[in-house]
Structures are given as C-alpha cells and as structure tokens.
Symmetry: C2
Subunit: 340 residues, 2 copies
DNA sequence: GTGAAAGCGCTAACAG
DNA sequence: CTGTTAGCGCTTTCAC
C-alpha cells in the first residue's frame, strides 16, 4: 500500500518531463509515438490515476453535475435519474446524487457541498420551491435545471410535466363516466405538482358545472401513509364519493391498501384514477387507470438543458419544457350509473 | 456573476492573513473573538465557499464515500442507499452514487473516476464478482465494502443476506405444503445471489428426497422480461410444475404478468414464492408470499463497516455480516393436494 | 494570536 | 516534439 503515485513519479519512470506526461494523459497529441508508449507503460506499471482535485484547481471545471432529489425511495426519481445518467455518460459527464428527505435544511447543506466540490451544474427537484437556499448557486453562476418542481426566486430552466392537464383529463374522464362526487387526495399545496394537480381537478369540475365540495378535498403529503389516512376519511363521510383521484404514486398505493382494509370495492363501489404509474396498477383487479409521466425523457431533457448551459456559458433565455402526461385508461373507473 | 471569491479575498476584506481565515473556517480555535467575527462577516458578505479541490490536495481526504450499484431502477438499491446515506450524514460523510447498468466496463470507469476524486471508501454491489477491475482500489488502499454480492479477488468486508437459507426456507415451505413439482426461476449463476438461491433450492429438494428435475430449472437474468419468458417456458411444459420459486423481485413481477396473460391461476393452479419483497405482493389475490430482506439495515451496516475502516486505517480482519432474510407467508402457496 | 511561506499535483504558457 | 515554470486555493509548519 505505497503512497499514491503522482505525475512526477510517472515522469521520472518514463524519463520525461511532467508536461509531456500531462499531454499524454489528456490526449492532446504532439507527442512522439515511442515517448507516448513509454509513458503509458509507466502509468500502467505504477497504477497511476490523476488527481481530480489538482486538475480541478487548474481547469475550474469538474465535468460533474449534481442531482438533488427529495426522496430517493420514491421510484419516480431513480427513473428520472436513469435518464440523466444515460445522457450524461454520453457527454462524458459524471453524476453525483443526493437525497434531501424533503428537508430544505439538508438541501442547503447539499447545495453547499456541491459548490465546494465545484459541480458544473445541478439538476434539482427542490424541497423548497421558494428557492432562497439556492441563492448560492445563482451567485456563483452555476447553471441549474429544475425538474418536476419549479423555483420561484430565480430564472432557471425547467422541465415539468403538465400536471394540470393530467389531472384535468383524469377528472374529466371520471365525470364523463357519470361521476359527480369526485374526491381528490391532494399533495402539499406549497409544491407545484401538489397545487397544479389540484387546479386541474378544480378546473374540470368547473367546466362541467359540478360544484366543488370541500369534504371531498383531502390534504395529503405525497406519502403512502397519508394516502391511507385520506382514504379512510373519505370512507367515513356520510355521503361517500363515488370516485377518487390520487395526486401521486405513493398515495395511490396507500389508497389501495386502505380500500382493501375497508373492504371498499374498487371499481364497483368507488372508481379511481391516480397520478403517476405504479407497479401495482396492472396487478390489481380491476386494473388501475393512471396518468403516466415519461420519467426517462424528463431526465434526458433535464440533462440536455443543463449541458447546453454549461457549454454555452453565454446568455440563453430561460427555457421551460412542459411534457404531456398520458392518461392510461384501464379498468378502475366504472360508469357511475352502473349497478353495483 | 463575478469570479468566485477565494480565501485571499476574504483575508483582504477582513484585513488578516489567509492563515487566520483558514483557522476560522476549520474551527481550529486560537483566534481572537473580534478577529473571528470580522472574518465571518467577510465570508458572509462575499458568499465565500471553500474549494474542496484545494482542500483535498492538502488533506488527502474528502469525507466522501462512493456507492456503486448495478441498477438504480431496481427498488432494492434505493432502499439500501437510503440506509447508507442516513448513517453517512450522521458522521458528516458525503455520498456519491453511480449505477453501472450491470456493465463491468462502466463499473471500471466509475471506479477509476471515484479514485480520481479521492473517495475515502466505496460500497459496491459489483457487476463482476471476479473483481479484477477493483484491483485499482486495492492498490491504492481504499477501503471497500461489498454488498449483496461478494468479491472473489480480494479480501473485503462484506454484508450479505443469507440467500441460501432464504430460498431453502421458501422451498421447504412449498414442500411441506405437499408440492413436489417445484420450479425455480434462477438468476445468473455467476452472481452470489443467483447461485446461492439456487443452492438453497437444491438443498431443500435433497433434504426432502425430491429429485431435481432439470426441466423445472429455468435460467433468468434477474430482469422482468426474463421472468415473463421463464414463466411461459414453464407453462408450456407437458408436466407443469405446481409451484414456482422466483429468485428476485423483478422476475417475480414478470412472472405475475405472465401468469395473468397465460391465465394460469396463482394459488390454485400454481403456488408461488418470490425472493425479495415487492410492492405488488399484498395487492395480488392471493397475496404473494415472499422472502424479505432488511434493505435499510444492509445499508446502515455497510456504512458502519466502511467507516470503521476509514477511521482506523490499521489492520482489521475481514468482516462478514450475514443477515437473515424473513419468510413472509401470505396466500400464494396452497396445499398441493387441495382441490382446484 | 497572527503572519509568512512552503508545497499538495496538476495544466498551460512559453521557450527551445 | 519536449522541458521549464508559474500558479490554482488551500492547510500547515514555523516564526514572531
């Protein structure tokens, strides 16, 4: 376990100067074939690997982007992440990922750490859309792309899914099936997705002249547990809804667990649509209808935008991608009039 | 968007030397109260953040660990990752994550990159248990902890789940229900989990004097698609098995999809147990029995082991944790004799 | 308590 | 083609 070899050691062994070694390890050309081979051999022999730290100090760039997500356990994010990584690897960029557990405080630490490490850019689904804690990034001129949740305080490129449209379509579908008592399990109204999905719900009801009934609007927190609790509240209502719209994947799962526990019959007694695809959707009976998002594409586009900013340096206008979600009709929405 | 401030700028503004600034940002004490406050104010004003690169060059440590997983889309890994991150944060360590897509080549790149960046240690579920490509880590004396899959070439701390025991128990349960025609959908036999889960299956059959029937041993690759295909092969057999054991979560999902498509009735026509918990388990009818692993604990222990190595530096013996999986009996295994 | 100065390992100008 | 050299921003002796 000898000391790590450095460029000096390589130069000495290959009997050249460190400048020549540097040329070789950076593929800059202009080195005689034999010399290069001698150096390569020395590198191999020593097991030399260049220090990113030293390199970064000179170059002021790391070829690394940071990705910040609120909850790595939510399957949505690994899928987005996969899209990001794939594109990043193509451009020879490296990705580092951290999860905030929805804590703005942790998020701030992570941001600071990313800056310390000199990331060239960051892709973030923030735990605090206000964005105060991102001031640092902005000050340092580090490009940021917001995914899934926008950032109020600063102008940053954004890739969102049309949440409002998605939930509108879902609720519209329910209405066209004859439902009027349609409940929504909301996400936090302080987040873009939480708010917009509620707005889509509201708009659909308005367009079809159905009065919004506050009892049918339950506030969850995007977690599985709150899906369970929300569903129970709905069940306990004197005037139960005939359909439920859940604002995200985890709450959908919670909702299904509650339905099962309460013996509230999916499809026949209560129709359902959820935002976001879930693994369980096609295994339930009836199969779940959902609003699906193109996770992989979201990640790819996010990296694309970020990469353009990193490369161009110059002023680019703020770009905003709005991807369309897809309503997947399966079996969990029955005609309201249908006999039970 | 001015240039990033450095320690010089801070020193100048606070009218002290850079040495004093350094003392303050590292909380080394020995600085007069007023001086310190002046410096802190300057830091605040400038929005100064110290460069990790420069720091690393001196200190030779990064307080960062690298985590390498084969497939971030497999829900097992985010869960393990969550355990790692949690413990790491407690010790003020930072975590960087990369996914190899099961490619040893990509894995090697990642390893090299991690070394370049000077990670203090790495936690890895390798795509190639042989471990040749980890030679570099070994040479540089960087501590490694293997998770879920061991590494042949070098002695490294390892945290595994007792795969053999888990699958033994699963198959035993099937046998005790009266099944004799028990099929297994294997994972790659080149991986520890793939092999051991097969060995547990084999052992159980032996112990109960059931001859192993090659037709019932199907080779999958741990992916969902191969779960589908394997199940179809089983279905097409003249002498269909009465029970199936699936070696991992994704293949379980594939298997369920195939069962549904083939209209092969789970529970009544064919019993089932899968290795690893899956979201869909409790939503299927009948509910799926599974062998569950403690993902969060795996991550926590892995970090623990790694951290000890990083701190102690001295020689520690190779440690090997073997966690017990838990057989969760639900409803997908019926008595073989039971009328259909 | 504080400052001056010596590098850490590398890249990039400049010289030859 | 190849070598010399000046930093990059920081930590850490060693003085004072």
């Amino acid at each position: 376990m000898e000391a790590k070899p450095n460029i000096q050691d390589v130069a000495k062994l290959a009997d050249v100067s460190i400048a020549t070694v540097s040329r070789v390890i950076n593929n800059q050309g202009g080195v005689r074939r034999v010399t290069e081979e001698r150096i390569l051999k020395a590198i191999e022999e020593l097991g030399y690997i260049r220090s990113a730290a030293a390199r970064t100090m000179k170059r002021k760039e790391t070829n690394t982007i940071g990705v910040i997500v609120p909850d790595i356990k939510n399957p949505f994010f690994p899928l987005v992440m996969a899209g990001i990584e794939q594109k990043a690897r193509e451009k020879e960029f490296f990705t580092i990922l951290s999860s905030t557990n929805e804590s703005p405080k942790v998020e701030e630490e992570i941001v600071k750490n990313f800056i310390e490490r000199g990331v060239d850019g960051v892709i973030i689904t923030t735990a605090n859309e206000n964005g105060d804690h991102l001031k640092l990034l902005h000050e340092q001129g580090i490009p940021v792309v917001a995914v899934d949740r926008s950032i109020k305080k600063f102008e940053v490129d954004t890739v969102l899914v049309d949440n409002k449209k998605g939930s509108y379509q879902a609720v519209q579908h329910l209405i066209l099936q004859g439902h009027e008592k349609i409940a929504i399990i909301c996400g936090p109204q302080s987040t873009t997705p939480g708010l917009e999905r509620f707005l889509g719900y509201k708009k659909a009801l308005e367009d079809y002249n159905i009065e919004l009934d506050e009892r049918y609007v339950i506030h969850g927190d995007f977690g599985e547990q709150s899906g369970i609790e929300s569903t129970k509240k709905l069940f306990e209502l004197d005037d139960q809804p005939t359909a439920i719209f859940s604002s995200n994947n985890l709450m959908t799962i919670g909702c299904m667990k509650a339905l099962d526990e309460l013996n509230w019959k999916l499809g026949s007694e209560v129709s359902f649509i959820g935002f976001d695809e879930v693994d369980i959707a096609t295994f339930l009976n009836p199969k779940l209808s959902v609003v699906a998002r193109p996770m992989n594409a979201i990640g790819e586009i996010a990296f694309q935008l970020l990469h353009e900013r990193i490369s161009f340096k110059g002023a680019l206008p703020k770009r905003e991608y709005l991807l369309s979600p897809e309503l997947k009709i399966r079996e969990s929405c029955r005609l309201a009039s249908q006999p039970m």
